[in-house]
């Protein structure tokens, strides 16, 4: 038996850092990536497409997305099994409930694992769905498979306990489970969503989001082609389906003598094929440089979006020497350094602003 697994698609996600047109493009890319996963399922002649939750974000989802999914699934040509997650719980007014799905679509809209025997070949798939945004208990607690199937599989959206800390899950994990619970319940394998970092465990598989959702994600943005052997063992192959090309670059602009130099340095670091690039500026910048971050974001064009931030970017004043001065400037530097009500970023901005003002400059806003 062959399955194609995906999860955490997050259709209609917001991209708060992006301009409206870029955000729309990213949302379109998510659709494209998911459509590629569906197409992949047909291409590899999969027996079913599994979606392990967070297919969309219900606080943002649009009717257009509903229509998109309705048609995509109707034309998929294979069973589509959906397990709602915490971002798309199967509420009364959810898309799951209000969309007229094609007969090949099956939604696991119960909070406990329910058997699906439509896969044939002696395989029974157990699925469950979240009904609320939070507070869903683990589906595997006290669960034990039944039936005469040779292989039992599971599909749901949940937090593998040992991964919670690494993924930064909050205090109230969503539908937690352990690999031991998978084994003890009689399941051969669990296909799960929630964590966005792809992970192939012995007892479970996290496919990860198919299209980048944030900068700095690790792992391939892919769908997983799963071959299930007669004894329940799984073989997994990841096929990249991402449509967005996202890059994260750090540029040390310490050698720049002017904003122009900064922009040139950033331009030199931009990857050629990235659609969205997050540029992190760092380094000790010459005090003479009048840097406005919009100079960097201006590198954006129709095909590429540049987002800029600073991390460890400082204006390289010799504050130690300045602080020794008996001048107003020296006193100012000392006062700023000792001002307890300022955080480091604000302290830095105040210092640079004051020193620039004393230096007769009018570029008083400090890039940060």
């Amino acid at each position: 038996m062959r399955l194609v697994l995906t999860s955490d698609v997050h259709l209609d996600r917001t991209f708060l850092w992006a301009r409206p047109e870029v955000a729309r493009r990213r949302r379109a890319n998510i659709r494209t990536a998911f459509a590629r996963a569906v197409t992949l399922a047909a291409e590899v002649e999969a027996d079913a497409l599994l979606v392990a939750g967070d297919l969309y974000e219900d606080e943002h989802v649009t009717p257009d997305t509903a229509a998109f999914l309705q048609r995509l699934f109707a034309e998929a040509g294979l069973p589509v099994l959906l397990a709602p997650g915490n971002h798309d719980p199967a509420t009364r007014d959810s898309l799951y409930a209000t969309t007229r799905w094609a007969p090949n679509v099956h939604v696991f809209d119960r909070p406990g694992l329910v058997a699906f025997d439509g896969l044939g070949d002696g395989v029974r798939l157990w699925g469950a769905g979240h009904l609320t945004h939070a507070g869903t208990d683990g589906f595997l607690r006290g669960f034990r498979v039944d039936g005469t199937a040779d292989v039992h599989l599971a599909l749901f959206h949940g937090s593998e306990v040992s991964t919670i800390a690494r993924e930064g899950e909050d205090k109230d994990p969503h539908a937690p489970f352990t690999p031991a619970e998978v084994a003890a319940s009689g399941l051969a394998h669990a296909f799960v969503g929630h964590f966005h970092t792809p992970h192939d465990g012995e007892w479970h598989t996290y496919p990860g989001n198919p299209d980048p959702l944030t900068f700095g994600e690790s792992g391939e943005r892919a769908a997983v082609v799963v071959d299930v052997a007669a004894d329940g063992t799984v073989t997994r192959e990841r096929r990249v389906v991402a449509a967005s090309r996202v890059a994260d670059v750090t540029v040390d602009v310490g050698g720049a003598a002017s904003a122009h130099d900064v922009v040139a340095a950033v331009r030199a670091h931009l990857p050629g094929d990235a659609g969205e690039v997050r540029v992190t500026l760092c380094g000790d910048l010459s005090p003479a440089v009048d840097l406005d971050l919009s100079d960097v974001t201006a590198l954006s064009d129709g095909d590429r979006e540049v987002v800029v931030r600073t991390r460890g970017l400082h204006v390289a004043y010799d504050l130690e020497a300045l602080a020794e001065e008996q001048t107003v400037r020296g006193q100012f530097v000392r006062d700023v350094a000792s001002a307890s009500d300022l955080d480091d970023d604000e302290r830095h901005r105040v210092l640079v602003t004051g020193l620039r003002a004393l230096d007769g400059r009018t570029d008083l806003e400090v890039a940060s």
């Binding site: 209609d12 996600r13 917001t14 991209f15 708060l16 850092w17 301009r19 409206p20 955000a23 729309r24 949302r27 606080e59 943002h60 649009t62 009717p63 257009d64 009364r92 007014d93 959810s94 409930a97 209000t98 007229r100 310490g254 050698g255 720049a256 003598a257 002017s258 130099d261 000790d284 010459s286 003479a288 440089v289 390289a316 010799d318 020497a321 020794e324 001065e325 008996q326 001048t327 107003v328 400037r329 006193q331 100012f332 000392r334 006062d335 700023v336 001002a339 604000e346 901005r349 105040v350 602003t353 004051g354 003002a357 004393l358 230096d359 007769g360 400059r361 009018t362 008083l364 806003e365």
Partner: protein
Amino acid sequence: VRFTRIEAISVGRLADAHLDLAPGMTVVHGPNEAGKSTWHAALLAGWVGLRRGLGRMRGEDEAFRDRHTPWDGRPLVAAVEVETDDGVRYRFRHNLTDLHDHRATDGAGSDVTDRFVHEQVVDGARLLGLTRETVRATMVVGQADILRVAAGPSEELTAALQAAAATAGAGSGTVAEAIARIDAHRSQHVGSLRAGSSRPLRVATDEVDAARAALAEARRAHEARAHLRVQRDAAASRAEALADDLADLRRGIAAAEAERARTRLEALERLAREADTSGLATPAPDAQRERVRAARHAAATPVDDGHVAEREAEVDRLRRELAGLPEAPTHETVEAPEVRAAAEDLVTARLRADAVVEEAPEPVDAPEVGDLDAAALEELARVLDGTPPEVPAALREELAAAEAVLADRAGGGLLTALGVAGVLLLVIGVVLAAAGAVPAAVAAAVAGVAGLGVAVAGRGAGPGADAVARLADARAQLELAEASVRRVLTQRAAAEERLAAAGVPTVDPTGLRVLARRVRAAAEQEQARRSHEDRRRERTAAVARAEDRLRGVLESRGCDTDGRSVDEVLADYRAACERAAGAAAGSARRGDLEARLHAAERELPTLRDAAARHEQALATLAEVAAEVGITASLDDPDALDAAVAAWLDGQRVLDEAHAAAETARQRLADGLAGRTLDEVRADVAAATAAVGDVAPVPDLHAALEDLRALEHDVREAEGRAAELQGQVAAFDADGDGVAGAEERVAAAVTRRDRLERLDRTLETTRELLARAEQRVHQDVAPVLERAVATRLPQLTGGRHGDVRVVPATLEVQVRTEGGRYRRAQDLSHGTAEQVYLLLRVALAEHLVTTGETAPLVLDDPTVHADATRTRALLDLLRSLAEDGRQVLVFSQETAVRDWAAEHLVGDPRHALVDLDAATGSAVPALPAAAAASPD
């Protein structure tokens, strides 16, 4: 700190040249282009070098390097040797062409570069706690500085002090100017939050509010849309369900209509068959049928010979019956009521008499008891019942004891005798009383009591009185007991004698009581028997009286009773009544029989005529029947009539068949409505095929009603679904929805936050700058006051002796001779510039943080001054030098050289250096006299 040597290793046109400097005041003089600026540059380049900061070199540094780099391509290299106030020597060397090439060594030649690196390059100003940026403004006084104070606006002195206090010359202007820049930036790039403002922060805040409002609306729309979708789906589902119901109903109706069409077709086909007259015969003409019908009617009269014969036999029978009828009876035909009553009374009397006989009691044998009755027997039984009584032994013992006591007492005498007699009398009285002799008993008792009384009284008087009384009492009781026993025994004996006399064989009380019950029963039975006998006799008499009464009644009805029992007479009477009644009934039928006889006799001729006419009619019928093909014999009129009737029926059926066919043709034509039957068949076949196996609705009429209602419901549901879909579509046209709205809010918040952050930063910067300025000015003001105050009287010839510095502005005010304070810059130019120099020195001294004395370097400070002001200024400088501060004056002024030649040459603390106009190098030092200007 003081400079001991300047080395122009390769600076401008100087190469490997050096200039030794005096510890006090050194005047370096040369005409224009003689190299003063080059040596000045070599001093600064060798001492502090240029910063090797990040990125490209600053413009002013680059210009400095370009201006002084040798033309022949050699690097710009200079060095300076210095000595601290403590006598420690250092050498600083800088290659400004290669900023990495810099070095500091101490007097022993050891590398101490690291101690002086500032911004990656050795900076000799660090000896003073200054930097290469601040040292110029602190130590170096240019001709422009002097000129600005001396000839510029009156605020220049204060501004210069403020600027120096602000950044020691490293910055641009004063703190106030810096704050003004901040305010301007804030105004331009942040602005007010005041409502209606068009400044950036207000606009950004409004954008946030607008974006949030739009987001709230988008979320509301999102929720409403979700709700609408649920409603729409429900409405659509209902519409679909209703549509399905409608379709089902329509199919059912179509099936029903197809079925009805089939039925109609069947009816049409039946009509077609009915309209087909090809198999029918042609009916006989109406006239012929009328003749047949009339002939049959004529022959149909029910007259025949048998009927005439029956009527004739009836006449005979009636005549015979009339002849045999009895005469009218004379005896009464019904039993007379009085006879019936008397007879019934007799029957009743007899029944009652018979009943008495049946009630006769059975005779009972009475026992032989003589004259005793049951009560006497029971009394005797009572007397004989029980055990005969005995006298109690205790009485006898008590009497014996009393007698013994009395005997023991002598002298009992008369009293005892009286007592005994009294007792005896009393006993007698008792016995008499028991025997029924009451008067005698009373008399005896009274006498006894009296005797006892006397005895007792006497015994009471004497010693034996008690014994006598007790004896008398005992004897009386004993006598009473014995008398009672005797009386009972006497009664029993009397009873036994009575029984024997009556012949009763037993004296046993129980047997006597049984015998008494038998005697009583026999007496009661005898009483019953006598009573029955009385009733029997009475009822027998009643029977006799009833018989007499009946007999009398019968006789009164004429019956002969003589010698016959009354029952026989009654039976005869009743039989006579029955006979009379039968005769009376026969006599009563006569009238009727006579009327029937007359009627029959009158009818016979008519019947005979009718029979003849019937014969004729039959013949006619046979003839007419033959005309229409009926062959039947006159011998069997019924068969003929039946054949004719069948023929007529056949004609009627034939007429009806033709009429029915015509009717069918009409109905068929109506039913086909201009179409052919085949066309209708084709339509029905098509309709039947179309509905398939759908079950027809049971009630088409009701179904059509339902159909209209359902169509209405479907239209309503579809309309509702469409309406909701329209509303959903209106929401769906809402662009990028909540996500876009959230992103617009985020963008607006980011913009606003940036401005708010900038606002806070600018405000904080402003506050901290103002605070720092205030603190520094408060520190500097006293320093400046002291510096000026010590020399002001000297500078002003005693006109001004007191000075004060306003901390807020660093404004220097001097007190005039009139006691008023006036601003220092309002003094004469010469005085003002001297005060300025004092302030610069004081400020430099304040800014130096290492305790070293900062040298003072002046570049043509007197170029615009007259001779007097020049000398005054140079005198002040020498005074400062003589106070321990190294003063270097680069000048092109001849007056300055002359002054130096006059005041410095010859003094080892000072020096005059003349530069060779051609080479820029220092010419050898001249003796003091020779150094004087030629004129």
